[in-house]
């Protein structure tokens, strides 16, 4: 029998009702759990989620400060800013860094060989900062990227101010340049302060005054959507967005006189060399040139690996700042310093004529030290020896002074130590001494100071090394009759917002008071004789100058160095050897001799004799600085719109008459 099916509606209704009520209770419990969850999210953790929501939608974008301008003493701008477009990348937002960069190479916006360096730089910056990967896009490149922009998440074109050097290579040795911030730079700067900054000063004033030029970056908070795109929606989303304005960098005022600088670079053009011209009364650098030069805009725009290689591989080494870093023997340019030392120490009688034949030998030695042209000077006193640059006279003088005296005197004139110029990279040359030689050589036999080492020091050869800057600094000490100012390029900083200029005081770091006015008179007059006396080594080049020039030629013998680093005395005849091995020509001068306004040192590498190659350049530089358009001496030479108020009055040597022409005549007449 099958079971009887009885539908008991009342019972089923009861079952249902019980179940429904039970279900209602369960639903109530679940609803309670839901409310508990909502309470946790919206009340308990409200702050936390509010912060997350804020972080979601607000992105902080740096506003780079405008880099300060760099201008010369007349306000002519040497380094300025130019609006450009650059490609920037936010590492956090790029899903496939290498792939994206590779596709940019395909688009022709990057160079394949720059990729490894670029990746290193990107990796070293903060992952949420925008990193410039390509500066200075052309309009065409901007357009090319713009149409493919969607393929490059996290990479965008940004309008920025890029460094621009309107005069190209002019004054690059002094001003330096900026370049893209690399791994190395990041070790020295605060990454947060440089967020949004594309470039950093690499050399020259751009590097020294990086902090002042850079300014303080600001920032703005912008509203972004989930894709990181900026959203423009007024009102409620934007109301708490912060903005902090950047503080522009200070403008840097240089002591450079671009008019003179231009002349210097034009005269050097095509041959390796350097020019440094200094205002002796404050150390202001009037011109500082190194040749050959290069266009700093290459670096400011982000130099490619290929361009950089080309500059590095150039045999003339344009990137080598000769004015600061070339270390050469001074040649005869050192003679005035030795003469002053010998006079002060009473080693020589300046009036006593000394017979100086074509060669000199040490007592008890057969080794001959020749005059440069193997000429016979005859019987000459100190003044004449300087005028005709008689080597034999100075071989003897050096020997009589001895290395200890010479070694003590050379640093007085700034040799063997940094001049303290306010740009990085200067070499300190070498002022030899017994102690130096004893510590420098490995071979004990080489550590002994030989009398022969002293003899060739008399004509600025041997171990003695100077830089063009040191020689100019030395010349300025001669010009002031003993005052030493640290050379400087930057005279003032100008706040671009107020226009107020903060002037820097010149740094007086030495005064050779032990040298008597009489000694100064003898030596300076002799230097005037170099240019004014028909026998003077620079007479022909300086002839007819409307002001008195105190000058000295020098020829640095190009020497081959042997394995130990000691200079051997092999000399090369200028016309018979490769240009590379020819002697380097020096000329130092200051003018007007009685009240100097400019001291200049000129180096022309591999040129031959100093009087032929370097002297005319020095002459034209002094002319450019001292003479007005009418060919007459300016009352205030080198006075520019932004020249600092003169605090220090030139100390004129009382022994020298105020008017220039009589001095020239006087010297010319007194000479043999």
């Amino acid at each position: 029998m099958s079971p009887v099916r009885i539908k008991d509606n009342w019972r089923e209704q009861r079952i249902f009702d019980r179940r429904a009520i039970f279900a209602g209770a369960v639903m109530g419990l679940l609803a309670l759990a839901l409310f508990g969850r909502l309470y946790l999210l919206q009340v308990d953790r409200h702050e936390y989620y509010s912060t997350l929501s804020q972080e979601n939608r607000v992105r902080t974008e740096p506003i780079p400060a405008a880099r300060g301008l760099i201008m010369d003493r007349s306000g002519e701008v040497i380094a300025s800013n130019q609006p450009t477009f650059q490609l920037e990348l936010v590492p956090d937002e790029v899903p496939d860094l290498k792939g994206s960069l590779r596709r940019l190479v395909k688009l022709g916006l990057l160079q394949a060989e720059d990729i490894p360096e670029l990746i290193r730089t990107i990796k070293s910056r903060r992952s949420f900062d925008s990193v410039p990967i390509r500066l200075h896009l052309s309009d065409e490149e901007v357009a090319r990227f713009a149409v493919r922009r969607y393929e490059f998440p996290g990479i965008d074109i940004k309008p920025r101010q890029a460094r621009w050097y309107p005069h190209g290579s002019l004054a690059v040795a002094a001003v330096g340049y900026v370049g893209t911030i690399n791994e190395h730079d990041l070790k020295h700067i605060n990454a947060a302060a440089y967020a949004g900054t594309a470039v950093i000063g690499k050399t020259g004033v751009e590097a020294t005054y990086e902090k002042e030029l850079h300014g303080v970056n600001g920032y703005r908070q912008i509203l972004v959507d989930a894709q990181g795109r900026p959203v423009r929606r007024p009102g409620v989303f934007a109301k708490d967005l912060e903005i902090k304005a950047p503080v522009p960098g200070d403008d840097v005022i240089l002591s450079l006189d671009l008019k003179v600088q231009r002349v210097a670079e034009q005269l050097l053009a095509g041959r390796p060399g350097a020019v440094v011209a200094i205002d002796p009364w404050n150390g202001n650098v009037i011109a500082l040139a190194s040749s050959p030069t290069f266009d700093p805009n290459l670096f400011a725009r982000g130099i490619s690996e290929q361009q950089y290689r080309a500059l590095m591989d150039d045999p003339q080494r344009p990137l080598f700042n000769r004015a600061l870093r070339a270390q050469l023997p001074s040649g005869s340019a050192i003679k005035p310093a030795l003469a002053l030392g010998a006079l002060t120490d009473g080693v020589i009688n300046p009036q006593l004529p000394v017979y100086s034949p074509w060669a000199y030998h040490l007592p008890g030695s057969r080794h001959l030290y020749h005059n440069a042209m193997h000429e016979n000077c005859g019987s000459v006193d100190l003044s004449q020896a300087i005028i005709v640059s008689c080597d034999v006279y100075f071989y003897r003088l050096a020997h009589e002074m001895g290395i200890d005296r010479i070694g003590a005197w050379l640093p007085n004139f700034g040799f063997g130590r940094p001049t303290g110029i306010d740009i990085p990279g200067e070499q300190q040359g070498l002022s030899p001494s017994r102690a130096w030689k004893a510590s420098h050589f490995r071979n004990p036999a080489d550590r002994v100071w030989f009398p022969g080492d002293t003899v060739i020091l008399g004509i600025g050869q041997g171990y003695f090394l100077v830089t063009p800057l040191q020689l100019a600094h030395y010349t300025s000490i001669l010009a002031t009759r003993g005052l030493s100012f640290a050379p400087r390029l930057v005279t003032g900083l100008r706040d671009p917002r107020t226009g107020k200029i903060h002037w820097k005081r010149p740094i007086l770091d030495g005064d050779l008071t032990m040298i008597s006015p009489a000694s100064w008179k003898i030596v300076v007059n002799a230097m005037v004789g170099v240019t004014a006396n028909p026998r003077g080594t620079a007479y022909w080049q300086m002839r007819g100058s409307p002001y008195a020039i105190a000058g000295k030629t020098g020829t640095a013998q190009v020497v081959a160095e042997d394995a130990s680093g000691a200079a051997s005395e092999r000399e090369y005849k200028k016309d018979k050897t490769l240009e590379r091995l020819r002697d380097d020509a020096w000329f130092i001068a200051f003018a007007p001799a009685e009240a100097p306004r400019i001291a200049v040192a000129v180096l022309v590498e591999h040129a031959g004799w100093g009087d032929v190659a370097a002297a005319p350049i020095a002459r034209k530089i002094m002319d450019a600085y001292l003479l007005g358009p009418n060919g007459k001496l300016l009352p205030h030479p080198g006075r520019g719109r932004l020249s600092e108020p003169s605090g220090i009055k030139p100390r004129v040597d009382p022994g020298i008459p105020a008017t220039p022409t009589p001095l020239q005549q006087q010297v010319a007449e007194a000479s043999p």
Binding site: F16, A20, L41, R45, S50, A226
Partner: protein, 379 residues
């Protein structure tokens, strides 16, 4: 004076009874219709903001509501006896359509869910949300309650066949809802507690092994639910962003159209599955509480109506439809707040899109039919 008072009072009563008469004629339940209308209106307001002022979406939602209302009105007029009689046929048609989907279905976003009839696209799984509980109720109507084991086995087959077909599409959310709708019928029929417990155990074990045969994204969703921070920009993104939206809304919310998470596109699926989070962000805890109270009212009223129906079929079906509605709401709210894994379940009457609005309103149409015709059912 007295006359006037009485007459005004009676006029009021007349008006009320007039509205009641209209509702009666339409077989509508006044309170329930009011609750549904308020919820739908709330949904439209939120949707306007969530869609960032997209009128197109607004109009389309309105059209779906109109269509749903029409279906609801039509179904409310249908006699429960007819509904009961067509239940097995509807179920069989549904199974047939699901099979058709597996063969000629329309593939969209990696899932084969749709059948195309010219311009109209139709999701058979939506039909099954109603057809399965109807079939279960129909089957139990004839049998004594609580159900015995053979009955339960048959019911298991009735439920699992469509659930399996929908899960294969794959549409885990809908298949779970269909399973819930069927299971709730059985539950309301008085399934014994120890059977429920053993079934739950089997379910847990099944889920454990099922995990191995899940689609990659389904497994990922579950794992993400367990640890959303493991992949914040990938699979965990939805949950994290929706919690940020709700949490940052606080008690009072950021204000209509001012939810940055929603307006700035941080919240994914903000018009559809995650619209709950938009309400939480813009109207805060109070806004969510208001919505949940509306839902509670709808569910309470529906449960009350189900208890008043005269026969087993009506009771089971009406009760199941009510509880399923709760399941919709709870699963959606649970997933958006991070209580439950992310399964694609829309918030009923509020989420944009799909045929879900029509299905939900159709369910309520059936429920009201079952209630309204209670006095007509003699047998």
């Amino acid at each position: 004076m007295i006359y006037e008072e009485i007459s005004s009072e009676s006029r009021t009563r007349r008006t009320l009874t007039g509205a009641a008469r209209v509702l009666l004629a339409l077989k509508m339940d006044g309170p329930l219709v009011t609750g549904l209308a308020l919820t739908a209106a709330y949904g439209l307001v939120v949707l306007y903001s969530a869609s960032t002022e997209n009128l197109d979406i607004e109009v389309r939602t309105l059209m779906r509501l109109v269509l749903g209302t029409a279906v609801m009105l039509a179904l409310a007029r249908v006699s429960p006896n007819f509904l009961r009689r067509v239940s097995p046929w509807l179920y069989l048609i549904g199974i047939g359509l699901l099979l058709a989907v597996t063969v000629v279905g329309h593939v969209h976003l990696g899932a084969k869910r749709w059948l195309s009839f010219g311009p109209v696209r139709f999701e058979p799984s939506e039909l099954m949300k109603l057809a399965v509980p109807m079939m279960c109720a129909w089957y139990l109507h004839e049998r004594p309650l609580p159900p015995k084991w053979p009955t339960l086995l048959t019911l298991g087959a009735i439920i699992l066949v469509p659930v399996g077909l929908v899960a294969k599409e794959p549409d885990l959310g809908t298949s779970a809802l269909i399973a819930a709708a069927g299971a709730l019928v059985v539950f309301l029929a008085g399934l014994r507690v120890r059977v429920i417990i053993s079934l739950l155990l089997i379910g847990v074990l099944g889920a454990f092994f099922g995990l191995r045969y899940m689609h990659g994204y389904q497994r990922e969703r579950l794992l993400t639910f367990l640890n959303p921070q493991a992949d914040p920009l990938g699979a965990g993104y939805h949950i994290i962003q929706s919690q940020i939206a709700i949490g940052s809304g606080g008690v009072f919310g950021k204000g209509w159209m001012n939810g940055s998470q929603a307006q700035l596109d941080f919240l994914p699926e903000r018009t559809t599955d995650f619209i709950f989070a938009v309400i939480g962000e813009e109207f805060g805890l109070l806004g969510l509480a208001a919505l949940l109270l509306l839902y509670a009212f709808i569910i309470g009223r529906s449960l009350y109506l189900s208890m008043q129906t005269p026969d087993t079929f009506s009771r089971l079906l009406a009760g199941s439809l009510t509880l399923t509605f709760f399941v919709y709401v709870f699963i959606n709210a649970g997933m958006v707040t991070g209580l439950l894994p992310v399964v694609g379940v829309p918030l009923p009457l509020v989420s944009y899109g799909g045929s879900s609005v029509v299905t939900v309103l159709a369910g309520f149409g059936i429920l009201m039919s079952l209630h309204a015709h209670r006095k007509l059912m003699g047998s």
